[in-house]
């Protein structure tokens, strides 16, 4: 419902289209990409031009002669997959903790909140760097790092929402009916928290994508040759002044994904605000 209302706004619809395009790229990379993103042909073919073998490279090739468009499309898979997966894991952890803390309060809340405070006291990037440097760079470790770094923030949101919803009378009704705690959390509290959580998730996937980008940029990203937008920027950076398209396209990719998610989140937020006003 809220989604449809959100999509009536042109900016949100635009955002949704951008996000859908990237998700489609991630899902159907193999079908959409014109070339193999890992195979070198001719290095540094300019965008919209053909290599010596007559192949057309819409966005050019990188310094190893790999098609940039194909790498962007496969890079979407890396970014959307890992950012999505990492955010999802973080959400599972954050939701479980947040529901428990918000519902039970007391000692459970204090312990979990303290743990969250401790983790949130690290600047995010410092936390990522510590984890990646200690454990090495791999998709799984990125998921771990994101979970570790994001779960406390999600925990706080869920906890705040849970406390708020916990005060609503329908929860009190369920309690006085002798409903079990788990059922209350899952059927009464969680479904009513989804609005703000979906908005937050949109933004968080974006931030995670950016963070994966930053890690790639700092040379701590996924091991090569995995196509990854941040790493593409990092790789192309040295030559960016002469071959600007090497970095412009991946920068545009990551910015457009983030922009799409932000606009979508904005739209959803506005729409749910309207919905609650009506």
């Amino acid at each position: 419902m809220t989604l449809f209302r959100a999509l009536r706004r042109p900016t949100a619809a635009f955002g949704a289209v951008v996000v859908v395009i990237w998700v489609a790229c991630a899902l159907f990379a193999g079908l959409l990409a014109p070339y193999d993103p890992l195979i070198s042909t001719t290095a540094l073919v300019e965008p919209f031009s053909r290599g010596p073998d007559g192949k057309l490279f819409l966005l050019g090739t990188d310094m190893l002669g790999r098609d940039i468009l194909s790498r962007l499309i496969f890079g979407a898979r890396t970014v959307v997959l890992w950012a999505g997966l990492a955010t999802a894991t973080a959400y599972v952890v954050g939701i479980v903790g947040g529901l428990a803390a918000g519902f039970y309060r007391g000692a459970v809340d204090q312990i979990l909140s303290f743990a969250a405070n401790v983790i949130l006291s690290f600047p995010v990037l410092v936390l990522y760097i510590l984890i990646i440097v200690t454990l090495g760079s791999s998709g799984a470790n990125i998921v771990l790092a994101v979970t570790f770094a994001s779960a406390p923030a999600i925990f706080r949101i869920v906890r705040a929402l849970a406390i708020e919803i916990r005060e609503q009378d329908f929860v009190n009704a369920a309690i006085t009916q002798g409903e079990g705690a788990i059922r209350i959390m899952l059927f009464d509290i969680l479904p009513n928290a989804t609005g703000p959580l979906v908005v937050d998730a949109c933004l968080r996937v974006g931030y995670t994508a950016i963070t994966i980008g930053i890690l790639g940029f700092l040379g701590l990203g996924l091991p090569p040759p995995t196509p990854d937008w941040g790493t593409m920027v990092n790789e192309g950076r040295a030559m960016a002044m002469v071959f600007p398209y090497l970095v412009i396209f991946p920068c545009l990719a990551i910015s457009s994904l983030m922009l799409g998610l932000s606009l979508l989140a904005d739209g959803l937020r506005e729409a749910s605000r309207e919905g609650s006003r009506a």
């Binding site: 190893l64 091991p223 090569p224 030559m239 002469v242």
Partner: protein, 539 residues
């Protein structure tokens, strides 16, 4: 018959006339001739006169004195100059401490702290005469005592310096007087004078160990500059000192600025005129540098390379078929083309460069993906094999790019290579430990110097764990031959052994690049990355 003058003024070494004959006959080139006779103690001037080289044109006007040269470079920790493991560090030291000899950018050895040298006929006893009137910066006179102290220090049983294996052949050092000493070797080594210019061989004051490391706290030297400030990761400042024994350098001050590991930051600083000279740029940066106004690009061929070596005693590389399959799958030409922008020379997997004097051309080995697959199947890997290649981008991202091309090449043959890219500083601690790793090797003027360091069974830096008595013997033989042509012939066996053993993919020889502001003059790029700032002046 031409009369060669020697550094000592004595009779030239008996091999000199033969070399002159070969040069005349066109069997060896001019460069080779000049290099070899220089080792044998012939003065550069007389060798040049013989070879018909016009003496360097006198400078039109005397360069301007004064000024501060700012260099962007990593300012790392220096503990003991004999243990320096990175060239940049030696370049910093070079302003204060000096060497017995000096090898110029054309690989010709010149006198330095040693005024002259003279080998015995069998090349096993070398007599050196020191420069008189050299004073240490603390006022002491420079004598053979200092030299002996250093050589003993390098070759001591407890020495951790790579010099220990370089000079393992030294059996004794004999002091004749305060300015004369001789060293005795257990085998003939022709390149001894050149070896004294290795970056780990600066001559320290005889009392160095009394104060000890780290060097910045104990920076006594014979050089033209004195250390004024040293901040690891930040900067190092050297100021010209009075009382230098040699020609007064032009610059008042040399300032090294650490700009971090981002080469793009270095270039940006150069573009903005914040530094005058950046120590290192990579092939990927040169298009940009070429576009910058008031910036000069300096390039040189160099025998520096990456070795993607496999440890012969580690699984699965203990099976030569696996190693050979990797070599057959690798497309060295594509690696230089893509990863190094075609700014190098294709390597032949034996660590001897075509432009090195002792190079012998072996028959080309063609890339053979089918053959690689067959070998793998034979070795029991019908479904391909998974390998992890460790690398550290110690010289820049092109190392990783090289590895990525190799990764693609190998994939065609069913060899799935996973890249484990470590930060440079994390790589060096394990460079010789990983079974499959990519290591950068700096230029050395002679291939035998590198081979001696890296592939001799007992060598400290034998990262491939290559143990071959035939190789050791073949190398000994080649190292003792003065005649370059003969030496090249002897190298055939050496190269063949290395290539056949398939211990590494050595894809290409990487050209050297640096960039400097156009106001920096008199700078010549040394293939070993050694910076000689005594000739540099600012316009």
């Amino acid at each position: 018959m031409f009369n060669f003058t020697t550094l000592t003024g004595g009779k030239p070494h008996p091999e000199v006339p033969a070399l002159a004959e070969q040069f005349r006959g066109g069997q060896i080139d001019r460069r080779e001739f000049l290099r070899t006779v220089a080792w044998l103690g012939v003065t550069a001037a007389s060798a040049a006169a013989f070879a018909g080289v016009a003496p360097g044109a006198a400078l039109a006007e005397e360069p301007k004195m004064g000024g501060v040269l700012r260099i962007a470079v990593a300012v790392q920790e220096i503990t003991d100059p004999a243990l320096v493991s990175w060239v940049e560090g030696s370049n910093l030291l070079r302003n204060v401490v000096e060497f017995l000899t000096k090898v110029d950018a054309d690989n010709i050895t010149h006198p330095f702290l040693a005024k002259s040298w003279e080998p015995s006929e069998d090349l096993k006893v070398w007599t050196f005469q020191l420069q008189p009137n050299v004073k240490w910066s603390n006022g002491d006179a420079f004598t053979t005592e200092d030299v002996v102290f250093n050589i003993k220090r390098w070759t001591d049983a407890n020495s951790k310096s790579s010099n220990k294996s370089s000079f393992a052949a030294i059996t004794s050092v004999d002091v004749k007087d305060t300015l004369t000493f001789s060293i005795t070797l257990n085998r003939a080594i022709l390149s001894i004078p050149e070896m004294f210019y290795a970056y780990t061989c600066p001559i320290l004051h005889r009392d160095f160990d009394k104060v000890g490391a780290p060097w910045p706290k104990n920076p006594v030297g014979t050089g033209p500059y004195a250390l004024a400030e040293y901040g690891v990761g930040q900067k190092a400042i050297f100021k010209r000192r009075e009382g230098y024994w040699g020609k007064k350098p032009y610059l008042d001050e040399v300032r090294y600025i650490d700009l971090g590991s981002e080469i793009s930051a270095h270039i940006a600083a150069l573009a903005a005129g914040q530094v005058d000279f950046i120590a290192r740029i990579t092939a990927n940066d040169i298009e940009l540098v070429k576009k910058l106004p008031k910036v000069q690009l300096l390039t040189a061929h160099a025998a520096s390379t990456v070795c993607i070596r496999m440890q012969t005693d580690q699984k699965p590389f203990d099976d030569i078929r696996v190693r050979r399959a990797v070599l057959l799958a690798a497309d060295n030409a594509q690696m230089v083309k893509l990863a190094y922008r075609d700014l190098g020379v294709v390597g032949e997997n034996h660590h001897v460069a075509p432009f090195q004097p002792e190079y012998f051309k072996l028959p080309a080995v063609a890339r053979d993906v089918a053959g690689a697959k067959a070998l793998l199947a034979e070795a029991g890997y019908k479904d391909g094999i998974d390998l992890t290649l460790v690398l550290g981008n110690t010289q820049g991202r092109w190392e990783q790019d090289t590895a990525q091309v190799l990764q693609q090449n190998c994939a065609e043959a069913g060899i799935r290579v996973k890249l484990n890219v470590l930060p440079a500083t994390e790589y060096w601690p394990i460079w010789n430990k990983a079974p499959f790793a990519l290591t950068f090797w700096v230029h050395r003027p002679l291939a035998v110097m590198t081979l001696d360091l890296a592939y001799r069974s007992t060598a400290a830096w034998n990262e491939a764990h290559f143990k071959s008595p035939e190789f050791d013997a073949a190398l000994d033989k080649a190292m003792a031959i003065v005649d370059p042509k003969q030496r090249a012939l002897a190298m055939q066996a050496v190269e063949k052994i290395v290539q056949d053993a398939a211990i590494m993919v050595q894809p290409f020889w990487a050209d050297k690049f640096t960039a400097a502001s156009t106001r920096v003059q008199g700078l010549r790029l040394h293939p070993s990355d050694y910076h000689d700032l005594t000739t540099v002046h600012l316009a």
